[in-house]
Amino acid sequence: MATQTLSRPEQDRSVEQTLQQLRKLYADAPEFAKAALDSALPALMAQAAESRTSQSESAGRIGIRLGRVSELTVIAPFAPGGARRLRAILRLLHGNFSAGTKVGTLHNMRFVFLDNDTKFLFATAYDGQWDPYIEDFATKMPDEMDIIFSAFEGWPGIRSPKVKNWIVEHQVSAEGWYVAHPDLTVAETGRLKRIGEAVDEFLDKVGT
């Protein structure tokens, strides 16, 4: 979906149209929701018109992206014994993921155990497109990847040419994706933090 910019009258017309379509959609929704529609929607639409990066795009083969930040959501069945192994290793690591920092593009990632430890949800927010660096993981941190992902049914190994297909088979693209700062990458954030620190030091020195 390309970003379009509408003129003011075009925007108003478009808000009205959207409102109409939504009223139809919400025809059999609970009363309070219909009321909410009339109250909330104009404000939502006005904000949409202002925002440049309000429209999400594809993150590549699968997944969606807003500005520079993409989402990746994978749900996969555990291999036999996989849940036990993964839980133990995650607890032993105690939230320390040096691999996460090494990759350099991960904003956050979560590991969630589902359905009585039979399924697993992996969800991350990361910079850039879906597949450019997967081969790099295979040569730079193959063991970290395989220690964790071998917990899942059918994981072919990070070095396997089938690995991208495995991910695609288990990934679900989000249909809505919001990022507070869509143009702020991990690298850019690091740079801003350093600048912020330098400015604070400077201000300390000049005594303000």
Partner: protein, 206 residues
Amino acid sequence: MATQTLTKPKQDQSVEQKLQRLRELYADAPEIGQAALKNGLSMLTQELAAPGRALTAGRIGARQGKVSELTVFLPFVKGGAMRLRGFLQLLEGNFRAADAVGTVHDMRFVFVDNDTKLLFATAYDGDFDPYIEDFAAKIPNAMDLWLCNFEGYPGMRNPKAAADWIAKHQIAAEAWYVNSPNLTAAETRRLEKIGQAVEELLDKVG
């Protein structure tokens, strides 16, 4: 705001004991996993030796530094998936309403199980209950608009009931990593302004 560690701190376990535990655990892992553990043990040592960082986000959910995660699977009412999908498409991915709240880092809406459930996953500042109260206070209508599509949703007019309802469907992450755990959304906005001012200054003196 009480914060507890996710598991009993195993600082009494030495790194060597942890590595041994891992070897035992992976004894019946698939080939790939066993090989990877063998090759990767030395690299894991560093991580196993570091002090634990995992926290909780209050009632439920995991937290790193100041940033928490909320992960819920919400069951759709009949017709709810279609309405929500239509709603999301018409908004063209815009959720600038979340800007009004000011503490959301990201959030995603994923339709799963043949459109019978929605996976909603978000990263936000602070703890769970204050977070829901914030939404109820600032954008109750926007919340009602999308949450009305799920079974048993009581409405944001009763924020406590809404929070209870959400918590019922929430699954805490077993592990949660954040790149900049002490950087709140507000702090990020501050840094952006400073960064902009610095670039302008450097352009002038450069």
